[in-house]
């Protein structure tokens, strides 16, 4: 019978894989277990093995294609089968992907207590069987840790313990099973992005954080940007947004107050001399934080070019894993959202995050006169384990000085 070769799910985070190289061609005879194709995911490169013996009738996913999990890679037929069998497999393949996408949206449990066993025979010790029977536990639901997955006494006991303490068991006692009838509204499954954000932010609030705020006049910065913009556009072919200026300012301030560019590991503080600045970008259903590496060594133009590329690809959802990990400090600009003051939270394991808010024209006193300032608030959060208020304050003062003497940014 014709069968499909589908992209396996190699991990909970895996959503898709890129076809790197086919190791067989159409028409090849293959045995069950033969390596067929190399697939690259965010984390690993792995080989898909042939699920059965037969002939490679059609290769669906071409080298370079990015395929969703459980997507159809190829069709294997038995000798004598014709193209209608191939078409049938292709048609079936489409519905499988749809089903998999829906099932991936289900909230994941970290360590599955319940393993799908289908018709597999349950291997369990006599003692385990006896305890399970008495406690009314279905052995099919237990994952054995013995040889060949054999279930032992400890496996049954730990299952009983988990069932007794798992939140599911507790809610089952409190609320009857099924949807809560009294709830009026919409229940939405969390997207993968939201799940990652949920995990990361929860991790973040474990550290003691404090935010200091300073009002800064950006008149000079804006004037500077405006003055170099035409020449900049001519030379580099892109506009100069404010973000690269902030990145550069942060890199300069780190040089003066390095402690903000650090992380804790064990009982040591690692203060980095390289500034890898993560910049928060809003995307569909969440945020991503692409990183500009070695900002301390890059020119404003270089940073602007990288930022142009990263922000565009972030919006398209085309960032690589190595482009969104490894930051040492984060910048979050919420100016567009019309926010005046906020408390950004740390992006672990980093020790500082700079929040930038909207810029408004406000009356200020300058040289004894009322003047108009382009005012913003810089909100800087630090990890209290690493630093106290003083370096955060120093960092803000330094930022203000740089932003008010913007020539420093291109020195």
């Amino acid at each position: 019978m014709a069968i499909g070769v589908y992209l396996p799910i190699w991990g909970m985070q895996m959503e898709e894989g890129k076809v790197v190289k086919w190791l067989v061609s159409e028409g090849d005879l293959v045995e069950k277990g033969d390596p067929l194709v190399e697939i690259e995911t965010e984390k690993i490169t792995n080989v898909v093995e042939s699920p059965d013996s037969g002939i490679i009738a059609r290769i669906i996913a071409k080298e370079g294609d990015v395929i969703k999990i459980t997507g159809l890679l190829a069709v294997i037929i038995e000798k004598g089968e014709d193209s209608s069998a191939i078409e049938a497999v292709i048609a079936r393949g489409k519905t499988i992907v749809e089903k998999a996408e829906i099932s991936m949206m289900k909230p994941e449990t970290k360590e599955p207590l319940i393993q799908p066993t289908a018709s597999m025979e349950v291997k369990a010790s006599p003692l385990a069987k006896k305890i399970a029977q008495e406690k009314g536990i279905d052995l099919k639901q237990i994952k054995g840790t013995g040889p060949d997955g054999r279930i032992g006494k400890e496996d049954v006991l730990s299952c009983i313990e988990k069932l007794a303490t798992s939140p599911r068991a507790r809610t089952q006692k409190e609320i009857p099973e099924g949807p809560d009838k009294s709830f009026v509204g919409e229940i939405v499954p969390m997207s993968q992005t939201r799940k990652v954000i949920a995990r990361r932010t929860l991790e973040s609030i474990k550290s003691p954080q404090g935010t200091l705020t300073r009002e800064v006049d950006l008149s000079e910065t804006l004037k500077f940007r405006k003055s170099i913009m035409p020449e900049f556009e001519k030379q580099h072919g892109i506009r100069l947004p404010l973000t690269p200026l902030f990145v550069k300012a942060v890199a300069i301030a780190v040089k003066e107050v390095p402690i903000l560019n650090s992380r804790i590991e064990g009982d040591k503080i690692y203060i980095s001399h390289k500034v890898h600045a993560g910049i928060v970008v809003g995307v569909k259903d969440g945020i991503v934080i692409p990183v500009i590496f070695n900002a301390q060594a890059k020119s404003l133009a270089q940073i602007a070019r990288e930022w142009e590329d990263l922000s565009r690809r972030a919006a398209e959802g085309n960032l690589r894993l190595d482009e969104i990990t490894g930051g040492t400090i984060t910048i979050s600009n919420v100016g567009n959202a019309g926010i005046d003051v906020f408390t950004p939270i740390l992006n672990p394991p980093e020790s500082a995050v700079l929040g930038i808010t909207r810029t408004r024209k406000r009356p200020i006193v300058k040289d004894g006169q009322i003047a108009i300032g382009e005012m913003t608030y810089l909100c800087l959060t630090g990890d209290h384990r690493v630093m106290d208020a003083e370096p955060i304050g120093q960092f803000l003062v330094c930022l203000e000085r740089v932003l008010q003497n913007p020539a420093t940014l291109i020195l």
Partner: protein
């Protein structure tokens, strides 16, 4: 770096006893590159100074006692040539050590002779017999150096009149009288051996019970048997003073009844066993002894990352099979397999007359945590025990009342050390008593006593009087 190819090995093993050599062989079978360093002879305590030599001697003692008590042949009393027995023992030791050597060679394991000390947590230095030095580094280092006997301030072993186990294994003339200090496994085995050959043996134990960690009933029965065999047992007694005179030793015993003096030709003091880490400079690897042994976690890793320890040097259970099991488990861990080693399921064996073996909890331990059932069967009820004239002893089961889980099995009697493996197999696979009572045991055989013991849990033993 004086000599030798200095390739980074997967595993460097210090010590060629059962823990070290078994890890080396299993490691090599799984494709690890290995260096094994031994300062003396391969085989460790077990092959050279422990299990193998003592069991050879005890076999001869057993044979001697059997011939003596077998009336059928009409063999008149005959002398014992201890020198010949020692020779036989030396032959056996040579053979088994040679065997280990051959297996290691067949596995192409790099065996280095020399003394070892740590330079830092991942480097050791080897001093070869010709005094050349070499530094070695391994991805992992295994300490399998075993244990040695502690020195006692009162009973200073001189190797002549106050002897340790090593000297006892090489005595060519039988002492007329001998005091054995301690009531542990090694003391009891030596007491049994010398008593069988006709030495007047006095056993001196500081606690109230010989074999104190054993199931109390088994230990009490063994004491009675030993006393009947002629061993004088002093419990709750310590040696407070040793006074050497011309041809004997005068021991001052301090017991519950007061002070007593005895005269003996020799004193055998097995001594307390502690980790053998002399010269090893484990502190350079950042390792501190705890209670005289090297502390390890469940994966046998010491406080130094990448430095592991197995066998007697970690304490827990001093025996060759513990060393072997932990050595193999470590290789399982290093090669990515799960560790199946379970400290609760290590059998213990004594090759006395009769033998003693056990596994799991004693009745006293089990009763502290749960309701238990006891099943017992005397060897006297087993036909085979009658046939071979060894009807003394008992098979005892300790079982959890609720689920019929086998918590412990203790055997005193003929071939106890073989029969205990039935219990090991059953417990490892979590067989309940129903399963264990159902196989057909051949008749006549000593294993019948095992099956009957299971039936006795439900008071259904066949060849047993009630309330025996």
């Amino acid at each position: 770096m004086a000599q030798g190819e200095n390739i980074l090995k997967d595993l460097i093993i210090i010590g060629g006893g059962p823990g070290g050599y078994s890890a080396a062989i299993r490691g090599a079978q799984r494709g690890l590159t290995i260096s094994l360093i031994e300062q003396d002879r391969l085989g460790g305590t077990c092959l050279n100074r422990g299990c193998i030599p003592t069991k050879t001697l005890l076999h001869h003692a057993d044979l001697f006692a059997s011939i003596k008590k077998t009336k059928a042949f009409g063999i008149p009393p005959f002398p014992v040539d201890l020198g010949k027995i020692i020779e036989a023992k030396n032959d056996v030791v040579k053979k088994v050590v040679g065997g280990v050597q051959n297996i290691l060679a067949a596995q192409r394991i790099d065996v280095i002779k020399g003394k070892v000390y740590f330079v830092n947590p991942n480097t050791i230095s080897v001093i070869r017999p010709d005094q050349s030095r070499e530094e070695l580094q391994g991805k992992s280092i295994l300490i399998a150096t075993g244990a040695r006997s502690e020195v006692d301030p009162v009973l200073r072993v001189d190797g002549e009149r106050i002897i340790g186990t090593e000297e006892a294994l090489n005595l060519t003339t039988l002492p007329a009288s001998l005091a054995v200090i301690g009531g542990g496994r090694r003391a009891i085995e030596f007491a049994s051996f010398f008593n069988d050959f006709g030495s007047r043996v006095t056993l001196i134990e500081k606690g109230p019970q010989i074999l104190p960690r054993m199931d109390r009933e088994i230990s009490v029965r063994m004491r009675a048997i030993m006393v009947r065999q002629g061993v004088k047992v002093h419990a709750n007694t310590v040696v407070s003073h040793v006074d050497p005179s011309e041809d004997s030793l005068s021991l001052t015993l301090l017991g519950k009844k007061g002070i007593e003096k005895i005269q003996v030709e020799k004193v055998l003091y097995p001594g307390e066993r502690k980790a053998e880490v002399e010269h090893l400079q484990i502190e350079k690897a950042g390792i501190q002894l705890k209670g005289g042994f090297v502390p390890v976690n469940k994966q046998f890793e010491t406080s130094a990352k990448g430095v592991f320890a197995v066998g007697d040097v970690i304490g827990q259970h001093l025996s060759a099979h513990h060393a072997l099991a932990t050595g193999l488990s470590l290789v399982d861990h290093l090669t990515g397999k799960g560790i199946s080693y379970d400290t609760k399921q290590i059998p213990y064996c004594l090759y006395t007359r009769p033998e003693i073996a056990g596994i799991g909890m004693t009745q006293e331990e089990a009763e502290k945590t749960q309701e238990v059932l006891i099943g017992k069967f005397p060897f006297a009820g087993a036909g085979m025990a009658q046939c071979i004239g060894e009807e003394e002893g008992v098979v005892k089961f300790i079982v959890d009342k609720k689920y019929g889980e086998i918590l412990g099995v203790h055997i005193l009697g003929p071939r106890a050390t073989e029969l205990i493996s039935l219990a090991s197999l059953a417990m490892k696979n979590e067989l309940t008593i129903e399963m264990l009572g159902s196989p057909i045991f051949p008749h006549p055989s000593l294993s019948e006593a095992f099956g009957e013991g299971v039936w006795d849990i439900e008071n259904e033993a066949i060849h047993s009087l009630k309330n025996w």
